[in-house]
């Protein structure tokens, strides 16, 4: 899932203080799981902003709401009219949600209340770790299911480097060395000899380096188009 953290309140306050009527809009999928931007967090931010407005003698209206996902059109349909009643939508979704809503809402700004951090998993309650970099060309079958792109500070494909110290990365003794984990995991799987093969330079064009990415599922798009055309025919469902 996408993991994010709430921005500091001071930073959020600077964004919203000049708007008369702000709606804090939560997103109840990924960012709710990581306690950064679900309906509860949207409510909390809204309350904190109201208190701050009182403290600073500003006459602001702040309210809150939430939808299931801010990255798909169907979830916006019931609320879009309501959103447009405000001067500012402060979205607690990930960056995808903020971009998505901003492109559709019209003449109202949409600002982010969350720093989108990474694709990660829940290691334990309250602890989230980065496990994937979304590079568009997964090779973790070669590395014992451990991603060196996301988890090695140097994205090494033929690690480890000389910086492994007691199983930790040179950047911090709180960060595991991904290549230490890879070697140990490959030993456990009995496939260590696979690591003797040199992995050649990567083609990074499938990652962000190739420019903004798009995935098109042609048969699905075709089907949707046909359905749309059918419904527009006389006697259709339109």
């Amino acid at each position: 899932m996408i993991v994010g953290t709430q921005k500091p309140l001071d930073e959020i306050w600077d964004m919203v203080k000049d708007f008369k009527d702000t709606l804090v809009l939560g997103c109840n999928t990924c960012v709710a799981v990581c306690h950064a931007g679900g309906d509860k967090e949207a409510e909390t931010i809204s309350s904190l902003l109201k208190i701050r407005a009182q403290m600073e003698n500003r006459d602001l209206t702040v309210s809150h709401s939430a939808i299931m996902r801010q990255c798909e059109p169907e979830y916006f349909e019931p609320v879009m009219q309501e959103l447009r009643q405000h001067d500012l939508v402060l979205s607690t979704a990930c960056g995808v949600g903020v971009n998505y809503l901003s492109a559709r809402i019209g003449n109202i700004p949409v600002y982010p209340a969350v720093n989108t951090s990474f694709y990660g998993g829940v290691q334990e309650a309250g602890l989230f770790v980065e496990l994937c970099a979304g590079c568009g060309n997964c090779i973790i079958n070669l590395t014992g299911g451990i991603c060196p792109i996301a988890r090695c500070a140097k994205t090494l494909m033929n690690g480890p480097c000389g910086g492994t110290n007691k199983g930790k990365c040179e950047i911090s003794d709180e960060v595991d060395c991904a290549w230490f984990l890879i070697v140990e995991r490959m030993k456990q799987l009995g496939t260590l000899e696979k690591l003797s093969e040199i992995q050649p330079p990567r083609n990074w064009s499938t990652a962000r380096d190739g420019g903004p990415r798009k995935i098109s599922i042609e048969h699905l798009r075709q089907y949707e188009k046909q359905e749309q055309e059918k419904s527009e025919l006389p006697g259709g469902n339109a």
């Binding site: 140097k154 040179e170 003797s196």
Partner: protein
């Protein structure tokens, strides 16, 4: 201009090779490099010009290497994967060769976080590159040299003929995998290897035994790394904090004794420790050179280039061979 690398010639001759290290300054003035080059000239076969070590901005390795070369000191330019993508790397390699450089050490490079680890502000917020890793970088140099081809496949009019080096941390973790690590660098095309500083000779010996079993010592020239200790504090720090380095307690004890022998005299304490450090370095050089499969030593007198002459002479490695 097209002469082969002196380092390569020494290694080919079968005599133990000596490389040194020269750290460029945080300055736009190259005088310090010229000064250091004169301290090292004649006491090593080539000197590594570090490439922004610990991710601190300094005169670039290539520029520093050219300055050293002009003074008659053969440089080993260093190329980290941290700061350049494959386009910049290959462009710099072509330029470096055109400027007369013949040795290149391929390294991953310290993470940019290191730049702010000490008293400096550094650039911990810099973006790192790591488009390719060390193994892949070695492969790129080899492909350019032996096939006259860029990594992407385009032909080069004139190929850069580098003597290709890589580093190795024999005492790093996981210990058993470090042998594979070296094997991959050799398979990729490393002509010579400079190891991380060795204090624990027993660990290094055991690793070299595995290396010789695989015959890797015949496919690459392994130069054992010797860091010249300057104080007990430095040894303790290296033991506790430098990845892949462990210092036997007996060595630390020797340095503490040297310091204590000076009593309260701080100047003498420094002097005694430096003398003991040089003795330790010379002993390590001898021990390393005795290990089967070793082709030389890489002596790192970090920010202490003036100690090299004495060390090399005491180690019986002076004068250095000359090829015409």
């Amino acid at each position: 201009m097209n002469a082969a690398s002196n380092l390569q010639q020494v290694i080919m001759s079968g005599q133990p090779a000596v490389t040194a290290e020269l750290g460029p300054p945080m300055s736009a003035d190259g005088t310090e490099i010229i000064h250091k080059a004169h301290l090292l000239k004649g006491f090593c076969d080539a000197a590594n010009i570090t490439d922004c070590q610990t991710a601190v901005v300094r005169i670039s390795s290539i520029a520093g290497a050219v300055l050293a070369l002009r003074e008659g000191l053969e440089p080993v330019m260093q190329m980290t994967c941290r700061d350049r993508n494959r386009i910049a790397i290959q462009a710099d390699l072509l330029g470096a060769h055109a400027l007369g450089l013949r040795n290149c050490l391929c390294i991953a490079g310290d993470h940019q976080k290191f730049s702010a680890a000490g008293r400096l502000k550094g650039h911990p917020g810099a973006k790192n590159v790591y488009d390719v890793d060390t193994c892949q970088l070695v492969g790129i140099l080899k492909k350019m040299r032996d096939e006259g081809t860029q990594q992407g496949g385009d032909k080069l009019e004139v190929a850069p003929k580098f003597f290709i080096g890589a580093s190795w941390t024999p005492g790093g973790e996981p210990l058993d995998f470090r042998v594979v690590n070296l094997q991959k660098k050799v398979a990729a095309g490393a002509d010579f290897i400079q190891t991380q500083g060795i204090f624990d000779v027993e660990i290094f010996k055991a690793q070299m035994k595995e290396i010789t079993k695989l015959g890797l010592h015949e496919r690459t020239a392994i130069l054992g790394g010797v860091i010249v200790p300057r104080s007990a504090m430095m040894l303790k720090y290296m033991d506790s904090s430098v990845a892949g380095v462990s210092v036997p307690p007996a060595l630390i004890e020797r340095m503490i004794k040297a310091r204590e022998a000076a009593g309260d005299d701080k100047k003498k304490a420094k002097e005694f420790q430096e003398e003991e450090g040089i003795r330790i370095a010379v002993e390590l050089i001898h021990q390393v050179l005795e290990i089967p499969g070793i082709k030389g030593v890489h002596i790192q007198a970090i920010e202490w280039e003036s100690a090299m002459a004495k060390i090399v002479q005491m180690a019986g490695l002076y004068p250095r061979p000359v090829f015409t």
